[in-house]
Amino acid sequence: MVIFYVVFALALQVSSQDHPGQYSAMDIEAGSRLYAGQCALCHGPNGDLVATVDLRRGQFKKAVTDEDLGRVIRTGLPDAGMPSFALQPSELNGLVAFIRAGFDLSATAVKVGDPQRGQALFDGKGGCGSCHRVNGKGPRVAPDLSDIGAIRSPAALQRSLVDPTSAMLPINRPVRAVTRDGRTYRGRRLNEDTYSVQLIDEREQLVSLMKADLREYEIATKSPMPPFAKTFNGDELADLVGYLLTLKGQ
């Protein structure tokens, strides 16, 4: 059985000389300080406040390589409103390191197993496809997982499997609404504001409800997903995480 470890921040604490291709913990720490001061006010504490960009999860407008990232930071993107930053090479290096480390200075190392076996568990024993959709197949009632490997860390994926309620993002909370004329809607929240809520209901219809029209409105904090801590052993969980990490979107 092949089990390898994706060692996030912990592994990166080893110096870059010892592990070619990795940044050192010092780089990441230096980058985190720079980020808090120079970048967080626009990109947000979690790196996801600029549209179509999620720094922590490696989603950028155009940049692919570390060199691309450095160039964007140095020269800015005037059309997108991003200023240039006259940073020194070591500062740039730190910033890229922090972004590549997923902003995570203290992540636990999570076992990542065999993706093929993980997919078999996903489709078979787990029955995951009865709620989740992947690459155009499966229902839409639970969040689509087609790009989940690009937007979640291994630790977050494992947490979702063993304790879904504690890992459910607030936006995904299940909604139950009853209109004044007695119609009941159940679904997953997609968006909400002071006056309205948008959801995808059990029949996979997009529904927008005005709160003023509702007689009852409940948002559950318990995830409808069952915990899989007992269904799967440690190796199986690792395989599932391995499979989910391969889902990087179209």
Partner: protein
């Protein structure tokens, strides 16, 4: 025939008289004298200063739009611009002309009735400019026929209000060291008063007055006292050299005491107070300065030795009201909902602390003592602090209505952050923040509130905080009513002579509330975040309410 001829000559004479009167009146109106600024409240058709008057109440006596007819408001015009990012400006309105700034440092003059543009003045800030939080400019001041704008590269520019050309352009401070001017200047008598931003770059803040005619600096008040100056003893080491104390919202003025009041920003580095032991005056304070000389008359510090970035950069609101106890007990107050979560009432003649109460959840201090000093209760490392980094409120302009005698403020509730202290080494012009923070989220790594809103999808939700308009009774500090929003709000507030309250929020809704009860009376979905204060003005007998949302300045009035 003769009769008719007489009629014509009479009519012609009357027309000449009317024309002369109109021209005269136009000529008089065109000059915004310092006397007109003093009596701005007596000409509610205009909006002559950033906060509407020297008392900074953002209260308009106009009352054509009422709780009964507010549902008949309709959009009269929209000015769409190419502004990227939060548009934080408050326009001025001078006799039918609106003057507004847009990013980075443009001034636009437009017709208040139609939104059609007369001219645009563009200043391109030097590439040396460094600002922490976006290319913000919050507005202008006017005196005579001259507009005044501070710039991102720390200059002050006088602009001809008719022609849109610069008259003079002077440096205020060195942009390459992180200094900037982002707030609307304040004109008092013949002087233009501005302060400098840059609290994240290890600057040493100051407020300076410039001669309105020449741009020559007349006085300067340093917000970080130097060796030998009173207050320097509150810096126990060399921290004062990069002590921060920025200014980035406009102050107020009381002609009776000839005092101008300004809120001072955070000490530097922001989060590591161990690097700068002592109270760190005059950071996180209000200062009362003699408007002629800049001499400090009094100060009051809200957050000594601040590790939370609780800038006291709020608009000082001056209120005359009967204070506690029976009888006519008129008090001259300065009221202040601070970023640190406490609402304060001070005597604005002396700075004496009168009362202070939390208006949101606060756990960094257990209470204020009898002199208003907080009894600090720092949370253990890794634990959340309420209010969070953006504060219980921030720079968002509050309002006070002399009719309801309530103070209205945009507050952030249920919002906390976890701070991290690190040692920062000062390097000129570079970030000097002393750590960082994360927003408390219910799930590790969940989306969080940031500075400004950048998506139409609210995937952070109210689980990390939400906005409320609070109506606070200054006498008791109690919240009389609350209007809650799902997302947080950076909007200022306007109240009117008909007891309406206008405000917005990040969701792009522009709301009209009953100022007495908080009841929602009307709303418009404008689609872009509102991060500035609404204003009201009148042209040709019609009352307008204007607000900036997203990239657009929108003006509303009653249906014809």
């Amino acid at each position: 025939m003769k009769k008719l001829g007489d009629f014509f000559s009479l009519a012609a004479g009357a027309a000449v008289l009317v024309t002369v009167a109109a021209l005269t009146s136009f000529h008089v109106d065109a000059q915004v004298t310092s006397d007109r600024l003093l009596r701005a409240a007596s000409e509610p058709r205009n909006w002559l200063t950033y906060s509407g008057s020297y008392m900074s109440q953002r209260y308009s006596p106009l009352d054509q739009i009422t709780p009964a007819n507010v549902k008949d408001l309709e959009q009269k015009w929209v000015l769409q611009t190419q502004v990227i990012g939060a548009w934080q400006a408050t326009p001025l309105v001078v006799d039918g002309i609106i003057y507004v700034t847009q990013r980075p440092n443009d001034v636009v003059a437009l017709d208040a009735k139609t939104g059609r543009v007369f001219w645009i003045y563009r200043h391109t800030p030097s590439p040396d400019q460094r600002v922490c939080c976006g290319s913000n400019n919050r507005g202008l001041a006017i005196l005579g026929d001259t507009l005044f704008m501070g710039t991102l590269d720390a200059r002050l520019i006088a602009i001809d209000a008719k022609g849109g050309r610069a008259i003079w352009n002077v440096p205020v401070a060195e942009a390459r060291l992180g200094y900037s001017v982002t707030h609307a200047p304040l004109v008092v008598k013949d002087k233009v008063i501005v302060g400098v931003g840059g609290g994240e770059f290890g600057i040493r803040g100051f407020i300076a007055a410039f001669d309105a005619k020449t741009g020559k600096e007349v006085w300067r008040f340093k917000t970080i006292p130097e060796p030998g100056e009173p207050g320097h003893e509150t810096w126990k080491n060399d921290g004062w050299k990069n002590g921060g104390g920025s200014i980035w919202v406009t102050g107020s003025y009381d002609p009776e005491f000839n005092l101008t009041y300004w809120g001072i920003g955070n000490p530097g580095p922001d989060w590591n107070n161990e690097q700068r032991p002592g109270d760190n005056l005059y950071t996180d304070s209000v200062v009362a300065l003699d408007a002629d000389t800049g001499k400090l008359r009094w100060h009051f510090q809200f957050t000594p030795n601040d590790p939370y970035d609780y800038d006291s950069v709020q608009v000082p609101v001056l209120v005359d009201m009967n204070w506690r106890g029976p009888g006519n007990n008129l008090a001259k107050l300065l009221v202040w909902a601070n970023r640190n979560g406490f609402f304060y009432a001070l005597d604005r003649a002396t700075g004496r602390f009168l009362s202070g109460n939390p208006f949101v959840k606060v756990n960094w201090a257990s209470a204020l003592d009898e002199r208003g000093r907080p009894i600090q209760t720092p949370q253990p490392a890794g634990s959340p602090t309420w209010p969070g980094n953006q504060g219980g409120t921030n720079w968002y302009s509050p309002s006070y209505s002399p009719r309801t005698q309530l103070f209205y403020v945009s507050a952030w509730e249920g919002y906390a952050t976890i701070y991290r202290k690190e040692t920062s080494v000062y390097q000129p012009g570079r970030n000097f923040s002393g750590g960082g923070f994360t927003v408390l989220t219910p799930v590790p790594g969940a989306p969080a509130i940031g500075v400004g809103r950048r998506s139409p999808i609210n995937n952070w939700t109210d689980a990390v905080g939400h906005g409320s308009v609070l109506a606070i009774d200054p006498r008791s500090g109690e919240t009389k009513w609350k209007f809650e929003q799902f997302d947080v709000s950076d909007s200022g507030i306007l109240t009117t002579g008909s007891d309406l309250l206008f405000t917005g929020g990040r969701e792009g809704f522009f709301h009209a509330l009953d100022a007495r009860t908080g009841t929602l009376l009307w709303k418009a979905s404008l689609g872009g975040q509102i991060a500035n204060g609404p204003i009201s003005y009148e042209v040709d007998g019609k009352q307008y309410v204007a607000i900036i949302a997203g990239h657009s300045l929108v003006s509303f009035a009653l249906r014809n």
